[in-house]
Structure formats: structure tokens, C-alpha cells
């Protein structure tokens, strides 16, 4: 084999190796959903979410999940939210899943929000009966933890495919928390709610884009 041919072969092999590494890294990076910016609001931002018992679409139609709504009212399957620093973030969660109850009643308290309160269908509460909770929205590093009330097991017109609509059975939870300096903060549902998985902790509970994600304070 001539020297030129050998050079070409080595260059080709190097190019293939670089391409494979790029694919490998891209495969990792592609695992993250696209971040969604919270809609601007007076003194801060408005974040509108919904929780669904089953997403209803590929790749995991049976997984429980969160979704987020952008400023135009369109729902996105993401759990990475961008919110402004040193601002008030008002969160509205439309909760479509039924109650599974809390294994640890401590999580039934509302913590880290303005006034340590939330509203559930318009009523202001400091805590929820543990058996009524379906999920939680918790950002441990910011001290935020809010239990989300489930819809009744026998409620009519329950939602099975996301995004759910206002006409379907749901509870509406609102709360406000204050952000500090910029940073990336993990949030997580603390109710082991992954149906059919051992201990309820598998699948969606350990996957960003489903029951956990990030609040990016920018």
C-alpha cells in the first residue's frame, strides 16, 4: 500500500472515530428535553404545568408525566423550566391524576412557597390530608415542596392521553415561590408514582422529562 493510501486510511479511520464520539455525546445530550421559558408576569414569571396519569404517546405512553405550557398556550412535554432570578414565580398545576397517597406524611405540608401556602381549587391551604395527594412538586435546594391533590377515583371524564383539557376531571393547584441567584436546581416528584414498577420508583420517576427535571434560574 502506498504512503498516500495509508495516510488516507488513517485519516478516514480518524474521521470515523471522531464521528462516533460525536454521536455518542449527542446521544447523551439528546436525552434532555428542550427547556421551556416561563411566561413573563408582573414581578416575575408564570409557570403553567399539568400532571397526567399516562402520557399517551411514544416513547412511553403508559408513563405518568408532567407537561408545561408556553406563552401561546401550547403544551410541551418537558420538565426543564427557565425562570428569572430574584423574582416571584407563580406556578399553576392542573392535576389530572388520581390520588395515591403519601408514604411519608411529612410531604403533605406546603413548604418554601410565599406564606407557606398553596391554593387548591381556590381554597388556601397549608397542608393536604396525606391520602389525598397524587404527586408533589419539590425543589429541595430552594426548599420548595408542594403536595398536589389528586382527583377522585370515581370522577367522571378522566384524562388518559396528554395534553388534558380543562373539561376533563382535574384539580387546580397554585403557589408562588421566590428565586434567588442564577443556577440550575433539580426538582422532583417525591411520590413513588411509577405504576407497575418495583416500589413505584422506576421509569418516569428517574427520568428527566417525566417526573423530575430542572428549574434553571437565569
Amino acid at each position: 500500500m502506498s504512503r498516500g493510501a495509508r495516510l488516507l486510511a488513517v485519516a478516514g479511520a480518524t474521521a470515523v472515530a471522531v464521528a462516533l464520539v460525536a454521536i455518542y455525546v449527542a446521544d447523551f445530550l439528546a436525552a434532555n428535553p428542550t427547556p421551556l421559558r416561563a411566561a413573563p408576569a408582573p414581578r416575575g414569571a408564570q409557570l403553567t404545568l399539568q400532571t397526567v396519569a399516562s402520557y399517551g404517546h411514544d416513547p412511553h405512553p403508559d408513563w405518568v408525566s408532567y407537561l408545561a405550557r408556553d406563552g401561546s398556550g401550547k403544551w410541551h412535554h418537558t420538565t426543564i423550566f427557565k425562570v428569572p432570578a430574584h423574582a416571584l414565580v407563580r406556578v399553576t398545576v392542573y392535576q389530572y391524576d388520581t390520588a395515591t397517597g403519601l408514604r411519608n406524611p411529612f410531604w403533605s405540608q406546603v413548604r418554601g412557597t410565599v406564606g407557606n401556602t398553596m391554593t387548591v381549587d381556590g381554597r388556601t391551604l397549608h397542608a393536604l390530608p396525606p391520602d389525598d395527594a397524587s404527586h408533589t412538586f419539590a425543589i429541595p435546594e430552594l426548599g420548595v415542596s408542594v403536595p398536589l391533590k389528586g382527583v377522585g377515583d370515581n370522577a367522571p371524564n378522566q384524562c388518559s392521553v396528554a395534553p388534558c383539557t380543562a373539561a376533563q376531571a382535574h384539580t387546580t393547584v397554585t403557589f408562588t415561590f421566590r428565586t434567588g441567584n442564577p443556577g440550575r436546581f433539580r426538582w422532583q416528584c417525591f411520590v413513588p408514582c411509577a405504576a407497575s414498577f418495583v416500589f413505584g420508583n422506576g421509569g418516569p420517576m428517574q427520568s428527566i422529562g417525566w417526573m423530575d427535571g430542572y428549574v434553571q434560574v437565569v
Partner: protein
């Protein structure tokens, strides 16, 4: 199979078929096609099987389909390579033969080949490839640790990277020395023509590439959060990437068992006349001890991982406490394999460095029997120490002193190896060649690893350092500082014999010094980070530790750069420069260096008769190492200098 049958099938002279015709048949191409097809078929079969199974449906994570996909893929891979041809042929009444498997030409590297030298080269390239991939993961880990907050990867991805790095290193490095160098040289060193079970030897290699690829597929399957240890019950709840870990590691366990059994059978039964136990090269003793560990420990790994797989697929509960199982059982079973695994990595390294030191000290190996006793002692004791990994697990406190003492005791036979090294170097005429530099670095690194290991074997100090970067620094000093330095010593020592080509020495020395300096710069500060409380497997750490971590990360990148120098040297020396190597460039008495380069397919013209030990350097009147039936090769070191 008898040699008589072997002789009946001499190579056939035949015109070479056109290149496209050579692509058709049982080779890597067919194996890849059948492997990919097997994945889809297996996944489909698995999906059909699970219809009506509540444990799999409703989770959108069909572990049975994933496992079936892997199983069919590996089966297709092996069928494509032709592993069924021989047993089917025998069932149809065809005579035993190795004829079609021992051949010349580059095509033999891409198919089932029963020439142990080909298997050695196949292993070398594959291990190197996966070593570089695992190293790349290490670079990604250190890039994340440049800042104390999550930056580049999220926590799940970081854990997956740590798991992939650790598992791939441990999986692939188990065969890092045995695969390339023991397969290639052990038969030659004992005067044999081949391994005892050549097809199994080839099988042990061809299980490695699919294992590596399946492990990498974990990235596409959601990763796995357990690190290389795969602890239950986290493994029971993890995403489908865990299936990839379980299947890949089990395949390697199978491969390790085959390698160990084959090596033992070869050394026990195929030694040439005169190759007494006390004339056995010390590297072969290292291989024997490693093989014993592989045969006894790797099946435990295979069984343990199979139990986790059953927990995930068949609703068993071996390791689920809520259903009567025991996660503690998993930790015990895993470390019953896991600690001998540490010595599966270390013992071949002992063998390599003790093989190299006499050559470049021009002195006999000091304390040959002591070295053998040391290796056997390590082998025996390595099965009695595993619970030191569980000191803080809530184990029976009364057992802790026993495991503390056995762990500390293992430093005694390990110390023998250091005595052998020092005794051999003492008043030697030392030549600081590149293999010798790596061999000497092995001792300094392993000493630090060993001394820090004493802290970890001690219950009170282990309680405060467990799970910290102190542990991480310790095992990198033993595994990377030990095994990987020995691997490069072996590479620079034996690769010229394997390829017939010389390395560029300047680049090799740059590689050595870069690797030695930046290895220590990378891992020594991590002892401090560990003592200051930095935990393993967490990408978020105290901002006060950022200075240390930045220093370590930059050092790690430079360490990675030194590996790149090695790669450049390898490509430059074998593809462009192609300077022929002498048959015995080091003037070694090793039997392998008495043969011409390239070594003939059948190794020896006739069975050699061993006449003296391999380390009688500078011994007046020492006879040549063996009677080969023809003169020793030019420049050969058949007699002492």
C-alpha cells in the same frame, strides 16, 4: 483433538479468490448482519412472550424483550462467525480438524481463527478500543467536575458516565493482559503449538466485542444509575440500560470463565519436555493464579447477574427485601467476585513486571519461589477478604475484625512481589528501556495503592473514608497504576515481537513520562479530596474543593493526551514508519524470543526441549533455554550476555 488429526489437514495451496468473494462467508460481516437481525428478532419474540404479563406491560419498559434481543443478537453474532459449524459438522460425522481455522493473511483477524497468536492480536485491538472509550468517559467525568455545580451533564447522565467508565474498564481490563499477551505467548512460553481448547479460546474473544457494544447501548436505553457494582435494589428499579449492564457483564463473566479454564488446561497439560514447574516463566505463574481466580469467581458473577435479571423479568425477588429477598445477599455475592476481580487485574501485572525486570537488569529473577508463593498466597487470600467492602453496610460487627485481618494479611504475599523486584534490581546492570520504565513505575504506583489500601482495610479508618474520593484514589493507584502500567510495559516489551515492527522510542518515552507524571497529578490529590469529605459518584461538591478538582481535571486531560501520544506512536510505527524489529530486540532468554519474527503458525518446527530456566542472565555456563532443533535467531539471547 489429537495432533494426528491436525497433521492430516495440511494447508491447501489454492488461488486466492477475488476480494468480494472473501467477504461472503462466516466472518465479521456475517456476524454483524446476523447480530443486528438477531436483536430485532429477539426483541419481537420477547414482545410476543410478554403479552398478558402485567409485570412487563404497563411499564413501557419490556425487560424480557430487551434481554431476548441481546440473547438473539449474540447468538446471531456467533453463528455468523461460524461457531456452530464445527459442532454441527461433528454431529454429521465429519472428522475433527483445525485446518480451516489456522491460516495466513489479514482475513483471519476478522473471523473465527484458532491460531492463538491471531486471538492475541484480536484481543489487543479490541481491548485498546474499549480502553480508549472508557478513558473518554473519564474525560467527560472530569470535565463535569471542573465546576462544583451540575454543568455539562445532569445527575442521571453523570451517573451513567461513571457506571459506563467503571464497568467498561473493569470488564475489559479483566482480560487486558490475559487476552492479548497470555493468549499470544503462554503456549509459546511453555513450548506448545496451541492452546488446549482453540475454539473456546476464540469464543472467549468473540464474546468481548458484543459485550462492549451491548454495554454502550445502555446510553440509548436510559443509562444505569448503579455504577459498576450494580447494587440491588437500585438495579431492580433502574431503567432498561440496566439490562444492558447485566447482559454485558454476564457475557464477560462467561468469557472470563472460559479463558481461565483454557489457560489452566493449557499450562497443566501442554508443557514441553523439560518445562518443569520451577522453569515456568513467572508470567505464566501469574496467568495460572489469575486463571484460578477467574474460574472460581467469574461464575459467581454470572449467577448473581442472572438473578438480578430474573428479578427484573420473571418477578423473582432474590434481592427485594419487601418480598422476602435480601439486597445484602447481592452485595456479598457481588464482592465475592468483585474482590478477586481486583487480583484478576493485579496478578497478570505482577507476572509481567517480574518477567521484564530480569531482562533489563541482566540478572536472574531474585526469589523465584518466593514470587510464586506470593502469587499463590494472594490467590488464596483474595477469596477471604470481600466483606471489607461492606464494613459500613450494617454487617455483623463481630465479623469485621476477621476481614480486617485477612485484608491486612494479603499485604504480606503482595510484599513478596516487591521483594522480588527490589532483589532483582539490586546490583543489576539496569537498562532504562521503555518497558523497564513502565515496570518500575508499576512498583511505585502499586506501593501507594497498597499502602492506602491498608487504611481502607482498617475498620476505624474505613468508616470515615468509605464512599469518598480516598477510595477512588486508592483503587486507581492499584488498577491504573498497577495493571495499566503493566499493560503498557507488556505492550512495549512484546508488541515488537507480535507485529515485527519497532516502536518510535522518543514518542514512547514521551508517553511514559506524560502518563507517569499526570497519573500521579491526577490521583494523588484525590486522596486529599477524599479526606476532606468529597463523596464518589456525585457531580455536585463543596465549592471549597474546586481548586483541587480543577487541578485534577487538567491533569486528567493531560493524562488523556499522553494516551493519545501512545495511539499516535502505534499508528505511526505500524502504518507509516514500519521499521522491522529484531527477532530478539531485548536479548531476552524468553522462549518466545528464540523464535523468528513473525512467529510461524505452528510456533515450533518440532517440540522444543527445555534445558534451563528463563532467567539465568549473567550465570556463567548457563545453557541455552531450549533445544529448538535449529540455531537460535540472529541477535538471540539464548545464552546469557
Amino acid at each position: 483433538m489429537s495432533d494426528v488429526a491436525f497433521e492430516q489437514h495440511a494447508p491447501r495451496p489454492a488461488a486466492a479468490p477475488p476480494w468480494w468473494r472473501r467477504l461472503i462467508g462466516f466472518n465479521l460481516l456475517a456476524a454483524s448482519a446476523l447480530g443486528i437481525g438477531g436483536w430485532f428478532l429477539g426483541h419481537w419474540v420477547g414482545t410476543r412472550i410478554t403479552i398478558g404479563m402485567d409485570s412487563q406491560l404497563g411499564t413501557d419498559q419490556n425487560d424480557i424483550a430487551t434481554f431476548m434481543g441481546f440473547l438473539f443478537a449474540v447468538s446471531g453474532w456467533l453463528i455468523g462467525l461460524g461457531f456452530l459449524n464445527y459442532p454441527l459438522g461433528r454431529m454429521l460425522g465429519r472428522p475433527p480438524s483445525l485446518r480451516e481455522k489456522e491460516e495466513e493473511g489479514p482475513g483471519r483477524y476478522f473471523r473465527l481463527c484458532t491460531d492463538h497468536k491471531v486471538v492475541g492480536m484480536q484481543y489487543f485491538v479490541t481491548i485498546l478500543l474499549f480502553f480508549l472509550i472508557a478513558g473518554l468517559n473519564a474525560m467527560f467525568i472530569r470535565a463535569e467536575l471542573l465546576t462544583p455545580k451540575e454543568k455539562l451533564w445532569n445527575a442521571n447522565q453523570y451517573l451513567s458516565l461513571v457506571g459506563l467508565h467503571g464497568t467498561m474498564m473493569l470488564m475489559m481490563m479483566s482480560a487486558a493482559i490475559l487476552g492479548p499477551f497470555a493468549n499470544y505467548f503462554v503456549p509459546i512460553m511453555i513450548g506448545a503449538r496451541r492452546m488446549a481448547f482453540p475454539r473456546l479460546e476464540s469464543l472467549s474473544f468473540w464474546l468481548v466485542p458484543p459485550a462492549g457494544l451491548i454495554l454502550l447501548s445502555a446510553v440509548a436505553l436510559g443509562g444505569f444509575p448503579t455504577g459498576w457494582t450494580g447494587y440491588a435494589p437500585l438495579a431492580n428499579t433502574a431503567r432498561a440500560g440496566m439490562d444492558a449492564y447485566l447482559f454485558a457483564f454476564a457475557l464477560i463473566g462467561l468469557s472470563m470463565t472460559i479463558v481461565g479454564a483454557n489457560m489452566l488446561a493449557t499450562v497443566l497439560t501442554m508443557r514441553a519436555p523439560g518445562m518443569t514447574w520451577t522453569r515456568l516463566p513467572i508470567f505464566v505463574w501469574g496467568v495460572i493464579c489469575t486463571s484460578v481466580l477467574m474460574v472460581l469467581a467469574a461464575p459467581v458473577l454470572f449467577a448473581t447477574l442472572s438473578m438480578v435479571a430474573l428479578d427484573r423479568t420473571a418477578d423473582t425477588s432474590f434481592f427485594l427485601a419487601s418480598a422476602g429477598g435480601s439486597p445484602f445477599l447481592y452485595t456479598n455475592l457481588f464482592w465475592f467476585f468483585g474482590h478477586p476481580e481486583v487480583y484478576i487485574l493485579a496478578l497478570p501485572g505482577f507476572g509481567v513486571v517480574l518477567e521484564i525486570l530480569p531482562v533489563f537488569s541482566r540478572k536472574p529473577l531474585w526469589g523465584y519461589r518466593l514470587a510464586v508463593a506470593g502469587m499463590l498466597g494472594v490467590t488464596l487470600l483474595s477469596f477471604m477478604v470481600w466483606q471489607h467492602h461492606l464494613f459500613v453496610s450494617g454487617m455483623n460487627a463481630d465479623l469485621r475484625p476477621f476481614y480486617m485481618l485477612t485484608t491486612e494479611l494479603i499485604s504480606v504475599p503482595t510484599g513478596f512481589i516487591f521483594l522480588n523486584g527490589l532483589g532483582t534490581l539490586w546490583r543489576g546492570r539496569i537498562r532504562f528501556t521503555v518497558p523497564m520504565l513502565f515496570a518500575m513505575a508499576f512498583f511505585s504506583n502499586f506501593l501507594i495503592g497498597g499502602l492506602s489500601g491498608v487504611f481502607l482495610s482498617d475498620v476505624p479508618s474505613d468508616v470515615s473514608t468509605h464512599g469518598s474520593y480516598f477510595v477512588m484514589a486508592h483503587f486507581h493507584y492499584t488498577i491504573m497504576g498497577g495493571l495499566v502500567f503493566a499493560l503498557f510495559a507488556a505492550t512495549y516489551y512484546w508488541l515488537p515481537k507480535m507485529t515485527g515492527l519497532r516502536f518510535n522510542e522518543t514518542l514512547a518515552k514521551i508517553h511514559f513520562w506524560g502518563m507517569f507524571v499526570f497519573f500521579n497529578f491526577t490521583f494523588a490529590p484525590l486522596f486529599v479530596a477524599g479526606m476532606l469529605g468529597m463523596p464518589r459518584r456525585v457531580s455536585v461538591y463543596s465549592s471549597s474543593l474546586q481548586g483541587i478538582n480543577d487541578f485534577v481535571s487538567v491533569s486528567a486531560f493531560l493524562l488523556g493526551l499522553s494516551m493519545l501520544v501512545f495511539l499516535i506512536n502505534l499508528v505511526y510505527s505500524t502504518v507509516f514508519a514500519r521499521v522491522p524489529a529484531e527477532a530478539n530486540p531485548w536479548h531476552s532468554r524468553g522462549l518466545e524470543f528464540q523464535l523468528p519474527t513473525p512467529i510461524p503458525v505452528r510456533n515450533f518446527e518440532r517440540t522444543p526441549v527445555i534445558e534451563s530456566g528463563p532467567y539465568e542472565y549473567g550465570v556463567p555456563g548457563a545453557p541455552p533455554v531450549a533445544a529448538l532443533g535449529r540455531p537460535a535467531v540472529a541477535g538471540g539471547g539464548g545464552s546469557s550476555p
